[in-house]
């Protein structure tokens, strides 16, 4: 496993520190395969809830500050995405815009595909620990 830092993610963090921008609480999922790069701006084949459309809205999560090694050092985003169709989810991430293909990708990961049928859901918990 390797890791890269997106320029978009840096911009989101800087904007938020300056009290501007939008918190990246919108979770998207994708069904494509690929390798993350530092210039990544989106997921691999991001899909809407029906797992087929490439337009529509992401799901809005709820963020909180939780304590890890240091009090309040972890940004946590929790979101439940319910599938309106069937497919295999291979990657997910947090954006600062609700609409698919809009906004900046803040954090993102790909994983072994999770097969879903209609009305199945995935509850994502994304933790970012600063330290």
């Amino acid at each position: 496993m390797a890791t890269v830092v997106t320029t978009a993610g840096r911009a989101v963090a800087v904007n938020r520190l300056r009290g501007s921008g939008t918190e990246p609480v919108y979770v998207g999922w994708g069904t494509g395969a690929g390798t993350a790069t530092t210039t990544a701006t989106g997921l691999f084949t991001e899909r809407a809830a029906d797992l087929s459309a490439t337009t529509g809205n992401r799901v809005t999560g709820t963020s909180s500050a939780v304590s890890g090694a240091v009090t309040g050092d972890t940004w946590r985003l929790v979101a439940t995405y319910t599938a309106g169709g069937s497919g295999t989810v291979t990657n997910a991430g947090a954006f600062d815009a609700l609409t698919i293909s809009a906004g900046n990708l803040f954090v993102y990961g790909d994983f072994t595909g999770i097969g879903l049928a209609s009305n199945d859901a995935i509850a994502f918990t994304i933790d970012v620990v600063f330290g």
Binding site: V107, D110, D120
Partner: protein, 60 residues
């Protein structure tokens, strides 16, 4: 293989997935994507995931 894009300055990032099936069954997939700035901890995570895949009774 699992890979993550993380914001600058992050010590660690994880994505946990819990699948809720339409019939109500809940499948906890645990941490499906993980990054830690310490490469040894990243390596340990990969080993744990590999062992988990090989040992079905350890899958959650």
């Amino acid at each position: 293989m699992t890979k993550m894009v993380v914001p600058a300055g992050a010590k660690s990032v994880s994505i946990r997935a819990t699948v809720i099936r339409a019939d109500g069954r809940v499948e906890d997939h645990g941490v499906v994507a993980f990054y830690h700035k310490n490469p040894l901890i990243r390596w340990a995570y990969r080993v744990r995931r590999a062992v988990k895949r090989m040992l079905p009774w350890r899958q959650s």
